[in-house]
């Protein structure tokens, strides 16, 4: 068993997903099955093989640093769940103490 129910619960917390107990019961064995299957990559002897993170080979793409028109504050805030004084209004991020 490469992944336990407790580990899935921990990863869900790290991923900020408030999984229910029923979902955990359902997801944990599925993830276990998937991880067992994808672990096949470990069969490949890959000593000294460089990793590929993307296929184009492009590195350090630069452009001229020129100002261009951008969203107005109204446009940027138009889809916000809550707005106050031309700012995104969010729930508190610090505790009481």
């Amino acid at each position: 068993m490469p992944i336990t129910r407790d580990e899935v619960a921990h990863l869900a917390r790290l991923s900020r997903i408030a999984l229910s107990d029923a979902e955990l019961d359902h997801l944990a064995p599925q993830l276990d099955q998937i991880i067992t299957a994808v672990a096949q990559v470990q069969e490949v002897a890959a000593e000294g093989i460089p990793p590929t993170s993307h296929a184009t080979g492009l590195t350090n793409v630069f452009r001229a640093d020129e100002p261009v028109p951008c969203l107005t504050p109204e446009e940027a805030l138009a889809q916000a769940p809550a707005v106050e004084r031309q700012r995104f209004k969010v729930p508190r991020i610090l505790g009481e103490d």
Binding site: A18, L27, H54, A78
Partner: protein, 498 residues
């Protein structure tokens, strides 16, 4: 003239000579959508008013004698993963329900500039994760060949719209096969261009090193026309390739494979492949040989590790990309009652806003990237990616293109794999290698499987930036098959009646 049965190339010609107006063409497609989309459910949003306004604009410009692009006045359906100003963009997810992006994707903008008429936004698996559209939060689309079968995914709505004559053209994205697999099971043409050949700016990201926008059409030439219209360097996408667009339209018109070296990938067959798929594929290979291609067998021994590598790389990138859905600046916010802090609100929002497959992949990605497992999973998968690229490099040293079935099976019944992730993942067995390598690939119809009468796709793969070879081979096969069948394959689709 039955406007919805015409190809994009035919519509383009009729529009150019003012035989028909863009308004008539657009209205005919909106009428077709109104008549069949309650059964197909290809669309999440139908943009009738803006489509007719765009059409009126095209008609007016043409009346003044302005020279317009080939797709001016030709309708197109756009997958709901592309941002569209003044139109919703949901990605098939509750978390973006009602979101109206403040900007257009580069591809949306290029379509509008070309005068293509955007009919609306098509259904998809949530955030492009899936092979059936069953992961859409808004219900699945259905296959026009048989309404009880999946239309493929994730771009299933786009494929179904084209196969149901609701649009002559559609745009999708391919990350592990999400254009080619739905094209194959709906009996139409779909292309994954070279990675970096079509811009990702304004494409809501799933796996950034793999996501590739591309075209659907009912003919190879139509797909090429759309491919050309959306492609080319975009300074807004730092992974966009600054190179000329391959001559895809010219290649589709030439349709000549004489002397071409075609390699059959022996590793993409055998166990797990439906017999009717393999026999149609074998026929297609014989056909290409009879047209003058030199066919050989090629082995790509690491392709069997492509699926496991993909299901580590794509979820890893997804777990990072989808962190942006944090309920703070846009999208759904749940549980903000004044007592909960930001992290609790994030967790409640993501729990309510994401479906099961998205949650599975975020957690899988978090696992593959976590300290202690990174080298054994994500790191190893990246090395496998190198080995797959080397397999392709070796193969393309011997042949000009590779061919395989596009999918191991035809369209399966809705519901059959909905809660069996590993079975669902197998639908992309043949398409994933090209995504990992970033090269170009197409699926073109090659007949119906004997056992179920459903369409089979022939996949053609070409080296990066040699996308024109796909169209040369696919168009040659299409023309030869048309001669054999006497009518387009799609004329046999009876899911919506005769």
């Amino acid at each position: 003239m039955e406007l919805t049965r015409m190809t994009a190339a035919e519509l383009s010609a009729a529009l150019a000579t003012s035989e028909v107006s863009a308004t008539e063409v657009t209205q005919a497609h909106l009428d077709r959508i109104a008549a069949v989309d309650d059964r197909v459910h290809a669309f999440l949003h139908i943009a009738a008013d803006s489509a007719l306004a765009q059409a009126a604009d095209v008609d007016q410009r043409r009346a003044t004698g302005e020279q317009l692009a080939p797709l001016a006045g030709v309708p197109v359906a756009v997958k709901d993963v592309f941002t569209t100003k003044n139109m919703p963009t949901t990605c098939g997810s509750r978390i973006l329900d009602g979101w109206h992006p403040p900007y257009d994707a580069t591809i949306t903008r290029r379509l509008k500039q070309a005068g293509a008429i955007i009919l609306g936004k098509t259904n998809m698996d949530e955030f492009a994760m899936g092979s059936s559209t069953e992961n859409s939060a808004f219900g699945p689309s259905r296959n026009p060949w048989d309404l009880d079968k999946i239309p493929g995914g994730s771009s299933g709505g786009s494929a179904a719209a084209v196969a149901a004559y609701e649009a002559p053209l559609a745009i999708g994205t391919d990350t592990g096969g999400s254009i080619r697999q739905p094209a194959a099971v709906c009996g139409i043409v779909g292309t994954k261009p070279t990675y970096g050949g079509s811009s990702r700016y304004g494409v809501v990201a799933f796996a950034s090193s793999l996501d590739t926008p591309g075209p659907f059409g009912r003919t190879v030439l139509d797909a090429a026309l759309l491919h050309e219209a959306i492609s080319g360097h975009d300074p807004m996408d730092s992974t966009s390739i600054d190179a000329p667009v391959p001559p895809v339209v010219a290649a589709a018109r030439e349709a000549d494979v004489s002397g071409m070296r075609i390699g059959v990938v022996t590793d993409l067959s055998g166990d797990g492949y439906q017999p009717g798929v393999l026999s149609r594929f074998a026929e297609a290979v014989e056909l290409l040989e009879s047209l003058g291609a030199k066919v050989t067998e090629v082995s790509c021994p690491h392709f069997k590790y492509a699926l496991p590598a993909y299901y580590l790389i794509a979820p890893s990138e997804c777990s990072s990309n989808l962190a942006r859905f944090d309920a703070m600046r846009y999208g759904l916010r749940v549980g903000d009652d004044g007592t909960r802090d930001a992290e609790e609100v994030m967790a409640l929002t993501r729990e309510a806003g994401f479906g099961a497959e998205v949650k599975r992949r975020i957690i899988l990605g978090a696992y593959a990237l976590s300290s202690g497992y990174y080298d054994a999973y994500y790191g190893k998968a990246q090395q496998v990616r190198t080995l797959i690229i080397r397999d392709f490099d070796a193969a393309f040293g011997q042949v000009d293109v590779l061919v395989s079935p596009a999918t191991p099976t035809t369209a399966f019944p809705l519901g059959e794999r909905a809660d069996d992730p590993m079975a669902m993942y197998l639908a992309d067995l043949c398409t994933i290698p090209s995504d990992l390598a970033g090269n170009a690939a197409i699926s073109v119809p090659c007949g119906l499987a004997a056992e179920d009468g459903l369409p089979v796709g022939l996949q053609v793969m070409a080296p990066a930036l040699a996308d024109d070879r796909l169209y040369r081979v696919a168009a040659a096969a299409e023309a030869a098959f048309a001669g054999r069948w006497g009518q387009p394959l799609l004329a046999s689709a009876k899911g919506l009646g005769a």
